[in-house]
């Protein structure tokens, strides 16, 4: 039986002090975003699971509180904002309106049964630029993320990379990059080894992924000093990212506080093709 005072895994009320603190953070983020011309949208706390099926990879599905609604449809409580923004906006956006600058905020709930010490309840606030595929947009978003991190009292270190590079290296190389364990028996492309050793340059990358190399070079010229290109920051799956992918760390705590990147194919999935780049901050 539910303990009389307990709350369901992953949720709890925020009483006066905590609520005030949260509101303070929200206000700082929102003020900065609005001053930069970002408009807020409100996203539903629950949504169908099915429309997101194409994005689903393995574990992700189990990360959300899911239930079957009165119509027999599988519904999930919000666990990731970015695809929801695309699903909500895609049917309505018109060429003429682009680029759009959107931000959003709210709680997400994750059931990370298997992760160690996972905190399941998170407040997220994020922003994205829709319909601008330019390098400048990438740079602007990196700068914005850095400013917001500072506004939140952190010392940002932004690690970025382009997911298309790993895609071009093959599975073995990707696995090596993910685990950081390099086989020096020549079974891996030299580039992978170089990347792991931290000696790879964009010139090395260029032959494998010329577009990514040029783009990263351009971004590097524009990005602030807190932004570090790390070619070995690779995940086992790229998810919906199609170009630059970055994570914002707080140098003081070494914790990751935000993640983002470019997902130029996501909107097409929901009916209207549009380039997009954005990020989400997570406040525990």
């Amino acid at each position: 039986m539910a303990n009389k005072f307990r709350y369901p895994t992953g949720v709890r009320p925020l009483l006066v002090e905590e609520a005030a603190r949260r509101k303070g953070i929200e206000a700082r983020f929102a003020a900065r975003l609005e001053s930069d011309g970002f408009d807020e949208v409100f996203l539903p706390i629950i949504d169908y699971v099915e429309p997101y099926a194409p994005l689903r990879h393995g574990a992700a599905a189990n990360q959300s509180y899911r239930f079957v609604d009165r119509e027999g449809e599988l519904v999930a409580i919000r666990s990731d904002f970015t695809p929801m923004v695309a699903r909500a906006l895609a049917p309505t956006i018109a060429e003429a309106d682009l680029p759009l600058r959107i931000f959003y905020r709210g709680d997400v709930i994750r059931v990370e049964a298997t992760r160690l010490g996972a905190n399941r309840e998170m407040f997220q606030i994020g922003a994205e630029i829709i319909g601008d595929a330019s390098v400048q947009a990438d740079v602007d978003v990196l700068r914005l993320a850095a400013d917001l991190a500072r506004a939140a009292g952190a010392t940002p270190v932004i690690v970025y990379n382009d997911v298309s590079i790993a895609n071009s290296l093959g599975d073995d190389a990707r696995q090596a990059l993910v685990s950081k364990r390099v086989a020096r028996d020549g079974s891996l492309p030299d580039l992978a080894v170089k990347i792991l050793d931290g000696t790879a340059t964009l010139d090395d990358v260029r032959e494998f992924a010329p577009l990514a190399a040029d783009r990263l070079a351009a971004i590097a010229r524009g990005a602030g000093s807190e932004c570090l290109l790390q070619l070995d920051d690779v995940d086992s799956v790229a998810g919906y990212y199609t170009g630059i992918h970055f994570r914002v760390y707080d140098a003081d705590t070494r914790k990751r506080i935000a993640e983002g990147g470019r997902y130029d194919d996501l909107y097409a999935l929901f009916g209207t093709a549009a380039a997009a780049i954005g990020f989400t901050f997570t406040v525990e």
Binding site: T114, R115, L116, G117, V157, V159, S179, K180, R181, V182, L196, D197, G198, L228, Q230, D233, R247, Y249, A251, T253, R254, K255, R256
Partner: protein, 208 residues
């Protein structure tokens, strides 16, 4: 930087490797004390139970550590594993008494690994988590089978059990937390490179 060293069978070789990699590690005298935390240069060495190393690194309470793949898997540890060591390798085995019945109950210290193994094999069995002397469970018919680490195979022999299958190849890894790797990349890469070099070194701990 805080480095977590497993107190168990991997202790000496782990420290030896770091030493060979040029780290100032705790010496035998230190280890003789009951202390678990040692400051050497800009490194804080902590000695924790083998199974706790991934926990410390995962939570960022340690930056670097040495852990067996068994513990890494069992804890779904997401830290990087840049170096695989040659020492202390062994195998996770499915073990049973000769002529054991079909597998319906298995005792183990590694319930998650066992679950994954069974699911992969489409075997439906209850898992009985134990704290130690796992082979004994098969001897005393607590369970028909056990899943456990096998190094020399001695334990299996003395209990007159036999190995039925290899569940996983286990090796110790150098694990590195994502936070430090990303925020102090150069320093971490340098350490990894030195460990990589020293990896096969058979150097033992030098007394001052």
């Amino acid at each position: 930087m805080r480095i977590a060293i497993p107190k168990g069978r991997l202790l000496e070789k782990s420290l030896a490797t770091f030493a060979a990699a040029g780290c100032d590690v705790p010496d035998e005298a230190d280890l003789a004390t009951r202390k678990l935390v040692f400051h050497r240069g800009n490194v804080e060495w902590i000695l924790v139970k083998d199974c706790d190393v991934p926990v410390y690194v995962e939570h960022g309470a340690a930056d670097v550590g040495v852990a067996g793949l068994d513990q890494i898997l069992e804890h779904n540890c997401t830290a990087y594993q840049p170096v695989e060591f040659d020492f202390g390798r062994c195998q996770m085995m499915l073990i049973a008494a000769p002529g054991a019945p079909p597998l319906t109950k298995v005792a183990t210290k590694y319930p998650r690994i066992a679950r994954r193994y069974l699911d992969g094999r489409v075997i439906r069995a209850d898992i009985v988590p134990l704290g130690g002397s796992v082979e004994l469970a098969a001897v005393l018919n607590l369970t028909s089978h056990v899943i456990d680490l096998v190094e020399t195979g001695e334990t299996v022999r003395v209990h007159k059990l036999e190995i039925q299958d290899v569940v996983a190849e286990i090796s110790p890894r150098l694990i590195v937390g994502r936070g430090i790797y990303r925020t102090q990349t150069k320093r971490v890469r340098d350490l990894i490179a030195r460990i990589e070099e020293a990896k096969n070194a058979t150097v033992s701990i030098q007394l001052p």
